[in-house]
């Protein structure tokens, strides 16, 4: 891990100014530390050795006071801007990583590094705060104060400088040595700690279940035993982890002590003046102080640096190149998936495998298949959110020219689609403007159409039950409405939108029979209006509405064709099973 990653400065502009300020303050602090030590030594030596009266020393004490005041101000300024820049740099990185992740698409988010981004963006990056506020200033100080004080000591007394210069390199050497010796052990320890910790939480998460069977009391001893095991594992790790801290402190304090003794012995024989001796004595701890702080803050900063590295990894993931061609009018075009296959992430599965699907304008196509077969993946392919591993996805215009979906500018394609995912996604707005697709069209000639659509989807009864009716503000995610009610809002919006293609992903999953009826009526209406409809459906009632039914199948990757993890396929459905299992017998 680099102490200062240049990518941090490249991606977070706030970090650049802050680093410049920190370096400036670091140089100033180095000068002040030296000035303070020399002034103090002069005053002290003059008073203690030469018996100078206070009046004679007052000017220098005045300078000393000034140096002290400026140092306090510099510390304050550093702290003031540390927090400020940390927050801004974290915000910059967060925005970039969220934007990049969102553009990488839902499939990328669902696999590999994707799920980590959520934790990274909401919590992980906050660990950078410690890096900016605590670690970075000390890092800069160890690059300014440490060498500067060392040079001054060299000018005053080369033997002390030699002692300091001799011990300084030992610090990183010992740290690295101990780090390497302990790394394996502490990583093992960490794994054990995490496992034990998660097992206690597992028992707690199951309290209600254990109670339901009257088994809640037994695990008390288990919780205690796990806690004790956790403590022992942790202490085992800490005993080693703290060693590096001990070596650091031992080296630094011992060398200050050695410097003091050596100065003392030379003073006795008059080989040195008291002023120089005192100045070196005051400066010696300052040589090590930033280094000790870097060591102490190192662990606090690693989480943040690791988070930042994960962010850079995401930011360096190339985006799929999006097309530039204009999308043909979908009300006259056919969407065609030919022999499309996607390899399921982390499984030896092709889901969907060799899917052929044609969606003619005005047609209603139902997609069915066992769960895990790749129905939702098929939708993502069709929406251009995912590119197939093999096969083609094309838009065939009315004149017969086929354009690969990958070549089409999504901003000319998506506006022609109304998509209802399994969980409806609603922007914060009033119900009225939501279903109308904007506040402008929420009144006027559209109203009768709206009421008619709402009557069909059952949204009218929902709205009638709300105190503010159509003006009810749903806030984020449709707060205050049940999933079923939100689905009615989304269905009404789909009915009222002009999008030629409507995609419904398992629209009846969360609905009871009455709710299901609403969906059936809506689909019938969409059909009657000449809209193209793609349905993902389990229930026969819904499938019955389609012109054609496409069954999606998954396939296991033939053994030996690709390196596979031994247990990666565990729990994955056998692709042949649906055909012969009892649940396959409903049709």
């Amino acid at each position: 891990m680099k102490p200062l990653d240049p990518r941090l400065l490249r991606h977070a502009r706030a970090a650049r100014g802050y680093l410049a300020l920190t370096v400036g303050l670091g140089l100033l602090t180095a000068a002040l530390v030296i000035a303070q030590a020399i002034l103090l030594a002069q005053v002290l030596a003059a008073a203690a050795h030469d018996g100078a009266p206070l009046s004679e020393l007052l000017p220098r004490i005045g300078w000393l006071a000034l140096v002290i005041a400026v140092r306090a101000v510099a510390t304050g300024v550093q702290e003031r801007y540390a927090h400020r820049s940390a927050t801004r740099a974290v915000a910059e990185l967060r925005e970039q990583v969220v934007e990049r992740a969102a553009r990488l698409g839902p499939r990328w988010l669902a696999e590999g590094a994707g799920p980590r981004v959520v934790t990274l963006a909401t919590r992980g990056l906050d660990a950078l705060d410690a890096y900016f506020v605590k670690y970075l200033p000390q890092l800069v100080l160890s690059a300014t104060v440490t060498p500067a004080t060392l040079v001054v000591i060299l000018g005053l007394d080369w033997i002390s400088a030699a002692i300091a210069a001799g011990t300084l390199p030992l610090i990183p050497i010992f740290m690295i040595l101990i780090g390497q010796l302990t790394q394996g052990r502490s990583e093992r320890g960490l794994t054990v700690m995490q496992r034990l910790g998660s097992q206690v939480l597992d028992l707690v998460a199951g309290i209600a279940t254990l109670r339901a069977f009257g088994r809640e009391r037994g695990p008390v001893t288990r919780v205690r035993a796990l806690g004790d095991a956790h403590r022992k594992a942790t202490m085992g790790t800490l005993r080693i982890a703290f060693l590096s801290g001990m070596v650091l402190e031992l080296l630094t304090t011992l060398s200050v002590a050695l410097v003091a003794v050596s100065i003392g012995l030379r003073l006795v024989y008059g080989h040195m003046t008291l002023v120089d001796g005192l100045a070196v004595l005051i400066l010696a701890p300052e040589v090590y102080w930033p280094l000790r702080q870097v060591g102490a803050q190192f662990h606090a900063s690693t989480d943040g640096v690791a988070a930042a590295e994960q962010v850079f990894e995401v930011l360096e993931t190339p985006l799929p190149v999006s097309g530039t061609r204009r999308c043909p009018d979908l009300s006259t075009s056919t969407l065609r998936l030919t022999d499309v296959t996607v390899r399921a992430p982390g499984r030896d599965q092709l889901a969907p495998a060799h899917l052929d699907l044609e969606l003619p304008p005005g047609g209603t196509v139902a997609v069915t298949g066992p769960s895990g077969a790749g129905k939702s993946t098929g939708i993502e392919l069709l929406l251009g959110l995912l590119r197939p591993d093999s096969g083609s996805v094309e838009v065939v215009a009315a004149d017969g020219t086929a354009v690969p979906l990958a070549d089409i500018d999504p901003h000319t394609y998506w506006p022609q689609i109304a998509w209802l995912p399994q969980r409806p996604v609603l922007e914060p707005a009033t119900i009225g403007s939501l279903v109308a697709g904007g506040p402008a069209s929420a009144s006027g000639p559209g109203l009768p159409r709206r009421d008619e659509a709402a009557a069909l989807t059952g949204l009218d009864t929902v709205v009638a039950g709300l105190p503010d009716g159509w003006d009810t503000d749903l806030g984020r995610g449709g707060a205050g409405l049940s999933v079923g009610q939100r689905q009615r809002v989304a269905l009404t919006r789909a009915l009222l939108s002009d999008a030629p293609l409507v995609v419904l992903d398992e629209p009846t999953a969360h609905l009871d029979a009455a709710g299901e009826q609403v969906v059936l009526d809506t689909v019938r209406r969409l059909r009657a209006d000449g809209r193209t409809v793609l349905l993902v459906a389990h229930r026969p009632s819904l499938i019955a509405l389609a012109d054609r039914v496409v069954t999606v199948r998954a396939e296991t990757v033939p053994a030996g064709s690709e390196p596979a993890e031994p247990d990666a396929g565990r729990g994955a459905p056998d692709p042949v099973a649906p055909a012969r299992s009892p649940e396959g017998g409903t049709r």
Partner: protein, 638 residues
Amino acid sequence: MSAIDTAGVDTATRPPDATAGTFTASGRRRDPLWRAVALLDVDRRRFALSALLGTLALGCAVALAAVSAWLITRAAQMPPVLTLSVATVGVRAFGIGRGLFRYLDRLVSHDVALRGMTTLRTTLYQRLATGRPEATLAVRRGDLLARVGADVDAVGDVVVRGLLPATVALALGVGTVAAIAAFLPVAGAILALCLVLAGVVAPWLAQRAARATEQRAADARARMASAALGLLDDAGPLAVQGRTDTELDRLRAADADLARATDTGAGPSALAAGLGNLAIGIAVLGALLTGIPALAAGQIAAVELAVIVLTPLAAFEATSVLPMAAIQVHRSRTAAARLMALLDAADDGSGTATTGPDTTEHRQDDSTDPRPDPARTGDRAMPRSADQVGLPARGPVITARGLAVGWPDRDPILSGLDLELSPGRSLAVVGPSGIGKTTLLLTLAGFLPPRGGDLLLDGVPLADTDPSARLERLSLTTEDAHVFETTVLENLRVARGSTSAQEARDALVTAGLGDWLAGLPDGVDTALGADARSVSGGERRRLLLARALLSPAPLLLIDEPAEHLDPGTADRLVGDLLDRSDRARGVLVVTHRLAPLAAADEVLLLDGGRVAARGTHEQLLAGNAQYREAHAAELIQS
């Protein structure tokens, strides 16, 4: 030590007042942090040892400064070398002592804190497990885990990062001030004042800054998190709806607010840092301004002047960590308040349920393998199976008359409910989502108090029955029941500890998991991942069903056993459950599928906060239009 701070993002709870504001009258007056720290049951001797070691470590640093100041000024007077020998040895000894004592101090203090955290976690588990059930039911699972995980860690952290540094700083400060005052009282007084400035005023400012930022940032942080989550969770729909950029703007706005909130705290925080630094300088200046005249007046010796001027430089090391300690105390107090609210909610009015600490009589012999093994460790509390107890032929009966159900402190959502469940009877409860079916089940099982009417088990009000006797008669399987991070078999043994592997296999086959079981690498001994992430939604439901079937209780309450299944499988499963050939049990099933309900003795259709219709499947089909339409919609075939 854990530095995970998971508490920040989601602290919302289902019933809003379940984890906050329900302090008991006596608890309200006490600081939650001290109540939580008391529950850590910290070993006083270990704490004192740790404080002593910490004081010795920093004491070595102060002594090193003092003795080397003495050594150098004395050496400049060119005395015989032998007079310096004690000092030169002392300087080296203090140089070594510091690192050594500090290492030991860190080990002892962390051990103290970890022991305390284990005690607190055990107490918490015990009181949650035996206290009022609704206290845990009301908290979302993620929140519950954050309490027991991160919040307990935060309370433990206060020992290492808050209380011990403060104790050490106090001991060291008093010692150093006393030592300096012995040379020159007025210099001691100035040092004392400066230590107060750095060790009390600066931490107070830092804590205030942290609080101010936190309060102002909380709202912005919540908006930031929700915008980020929305963008990542719904990346696809947002892109298709063309709203990605709008949402990114929303994220930017929230982040800008967050930055502004941080700025409000940055001022006091900068003041605290500057003050800490300034205090050292003032102490040095004060020592010079009082020491030099004192030297001239012959009150102190020349070497002593060096000692009183240079010693303070080291004394402030102890106070330099106190601003962070103050912030830690604040964080820990916030965590403690959440923990105590949860405990108070669990303890409130719990008469029969609380127990003393569980004895270790059935401690496992496999202490080398501390896997959670809820079934085995639960043997003592395990209900005897039905045939062992020899229940009367008729068996237990749950009777509800005019029952109203709902969450405490909210309006009842369902009222006027009559039902009777006894072995041999099968009931089905249907109705639109959100009508209160799950709440009804929780009430029937005794986990929520009835909100009106009578609820009797064998003629005795359910609330008055002994919980363990109650659970011998009935078992509840909710849709969100937990699948433990252990083997399939141990997961099934949660219902009955004596379940054999063969019984487990039979139950899995009955629940429709035969094919799934055949595909598992180690059969019923296959370990399931954390929260059964390796199990699909439908498989999980059926696993829970298999567990319910293994329960020895004669009355089963089962919530939505067939969700996430295709209609054919779902109907067959619910039908089998309602039409068990042995009829030794009474079954109440909550479901959304109507087709299989012909097998039920009685169907209750809930709507509008009451029982809208009841009867057999046929009676409802004939007499209730709503039921008939819903059933017809379900039956439309291709």
